[in-house]
């Protein structure tokens, strides 16, 4: 990467951070809650991108790792009186361990077979959660409204010098986006590391990667584990965001939604994945806004998704690359 492009990236990141910091000053309390949710999805999609975008391994079951993270946090906070913040890394690490344990045998399977295996995990997740009701509270789930460990509840109101009142939703927003930005930086570092380059090599041509010294099993398993870590952290934040967990919050749709967000953001992109996360939060609302008749919002959602994939097959990230591409390629000498 040339110094100029490097500076451009750093500038872009600083701008991104500035927007994230400033946004709650411009939006309503309710919107802050929505944008917190976008931050949470952004984390999960960033993680899925390491696996699907870089390594080319499709998972239809990352909702299960989100559920694992969410229940880890809920159980530790509700039953063990732990502070919610400390459960976030624990949730991530537990999901990462589960990801490695699942990935080690499953990654011997190729493409569609592996995808179906992960799909099976997604299908089984709500049922398994209900089965262990002693730990998980069964169908009713776990309520965190009364929990001591939720930071800032019941009232989290801080008045900043400028007169801005920070509400609990603002707190959730900053919590989610601080973690999202840190994990975004980590994803960026992975992208530019030897490891990330090897993952992309695996995606492009496995045999050539193996013949060039890339250990496929270890790389794929680690990629799976990292992406599960992200999903676990996102799930943990989701539990804090919703003050509760239920098995019904982790249907198969949740896993599919992550893939949709990834595709809309653009496989292999980074910052544009935030657009994919926003899509997941706002499009259902938009569809509801057009018509609330039974089935119609789902059809609108589907139609928009199809149209988007036809117009932007590489997602928002692909669009941005296309816009900036002709300009930046002029920097390189042609042979």
């Amino acid at each position: 990467m040339t110094a100029f492009r490097y500076a451009l990236r750093v500038f872009g990141f600083v701008l991104f951070v500035a927007i994230v910091v400033y946004l709650p000053f411009r939006i309503s309390d309710f919107r802050a809650s929505e944008f917190a949710l976008i931050g949470i999805y952004f984390i999960a999609i960033l993680g899925l991108n390491v696996l699907t975008g870089y390594t080319g391994v499709i998972s239809l079951g990352h909702g299960a790792f989100m559920a694992l993270g969410a229940y880890t946090t809920a159980i530790l906070v509700a039953d063990h009186g732990m502070r919610d913040l400390w459960t976030i890394p624990l949730a991530g690490l537990l999901a990462a361990a589960a990801g490695a344990a699942f990935g080690l045998p499953a990654l011997r399977l190729s493409g569609p077979y592996l995808a179906l295996t992960t799909f099976g995990v997604a299908v089984a997740t709500p049922i398994v959660i209900k089965k262990f009701d002693g730990l998980t509270g069964g169908s009713g789930g776990i309520n965190l409204f009364e929990a001591e460990g939720i930071t800032g509840l019941p009232e989290f109101i801080v008045t900043l010098p400028g007169g801005k009142v920070l509400s609990f939703n603002d707190w959730l927003y900053y919590l989610a986006w601080t973690i999202a930005l840190v994990l975004f930086a980590v994803a960026w570092a992975i992208h530019h590391s030897h490891f990330g380059r090897s993952l992309r090599a695996i995606r492009d041509n496995e045999i050539a990667a193996a013949a060039s010294g890339v250990w496929l099993a270890s790389h794929k398993t680690l990629a799976f584990s990292i992406s599960a870590f992200y999903a676990g952290v996102a799930g943990s934040l989701l539990a804090i965001w919703a003050f509760s967990v239920q098995p019904g919050a982790f249907p198969v749709d949740r896993s599919i939604a992550l893939l949709v967000g990834l595709a809309v953001g653009g496989l292999g992109s980074l910052a544009p994945l935030a657009a994919g996360a926003a899509f997941l939060v706002f499009l259902p609302q938009l569809a509801q806004g057009i018509s609330k008749a039974p089935g119609v919002p789902a059809v609108i959602y589907g139609a928009v998704l199809i149209a988007l994939m036809i117009v932007l097959p590489m997602g928002v990230g692909g669009l941005l690359r296309w816009i900036t591409g002709p300009l930046t390629s002029r920097l390189y000498p042609r042979s």
Binding site: S212, L216, P333
Partner: protein, 238 residues
């Protein structure tokens, strides 16, 4: 001179087809060795067995004193064996430079990825994605990637594929120069006879999975078994 690579009695079957049938040959250190034979003779299979992409049904492969069959596929490069592919196996979405860098990740050669792109004359394309580049250019990227791991043994699978007459001559000089510059041993699969006979110290001939001849280029060219394999029955031709 001790052989750097010894292929000993290697057999590989695909269902009923015997792609390699008890093949044995030695590649002495520092030589350029040609591996020739008609289509389907088992040349590429031999490469795939040596680089561990295929497991042989029988036989042994010894490289620099190590049993290569006990080496997992991703460690073959670290041992010092690098290869190119007949139909080019690069990573199209990665930049040309990143393609070469992956070669250097496994085992660092003496020269950096940037220097190697310079060496193969592709510095100007470093930041372009590999996708869409002409075949001959891709072959050079692959060669740079293989060299980036600082190999003791370089396996070249049809490096002259797609080149014109003039370029083939240039490639021959390039391979000889490369042996000197990188202190490498070269095993070469090639259809282009002038190239193989012109630069090889030793040539082995495969036909239907069997090794039918081996020796200096002159010896091999006079061998009736070789003439028959390539031209059909020699007595009938005469």
């Amino acid at each position: 001179m001790a052989a750097l690579l010894s292929v000993e009695n290697v057999t590989r079957r695909f269902g009923g087809v015997v792609a390699l049938d008890g093949v044995s040959f030695d590649v002495p250190a520092g030589e350029i060795v040609g591996l020739i034979g008609p289509n389907g003779a088992g040349k590429t299979t031999a490469f795939n067995v040596i680089t561990r992409l295929y497991r042989p049904d029988e036989g042994r492969i010894v490289f620099d004193g190590h049993d290569l069959l006990r080496t997992p596929v991703h460690r073959v490069v670290k041992r010092g064996v690098a290869r190119t592919f007949q139909n080019v196996a690069l990573w199209p979405t990665l930049s040309v430079l990143d393609n070469v860098k992956i070669g250097a990740q496994a085992r660092r050669g003496v020269r950096s990825a940037e220097e190697l792109l310079e060496y193969v004359g592709l510095s100007g394309l470093a930041h372009r994605p590999a996708a869409g580049l002409p075949f001959g250019t891709l072959k050079r990227v692959e060669l740079a990637r293989a060299l980036a791991s600082g190999p003791q043994l370089l396996l070249l699978d049809e490096p002259a594929g797609g080149l014109n007459h003039e370029e083939v001559g240039e490639l021959g000089r390039f391979i000889q120069q490369l042996r000197a510059d990188f202190d490498a041993t070269v095993l070469l699969v090639e259809h282009h006879m002038n190239l193989v006979m012109g630069i090889s110290d030793r040539v082995y001939v495969l036909n239907f999975g069997r090794l039918i001849s081996g020796g200096t280029p002159q010896e091999v060219q006079r061998d009736p078994a070789v003439i028959e394999a390539y031209l059909g029955d020699a007595s009938a031709a005469a």
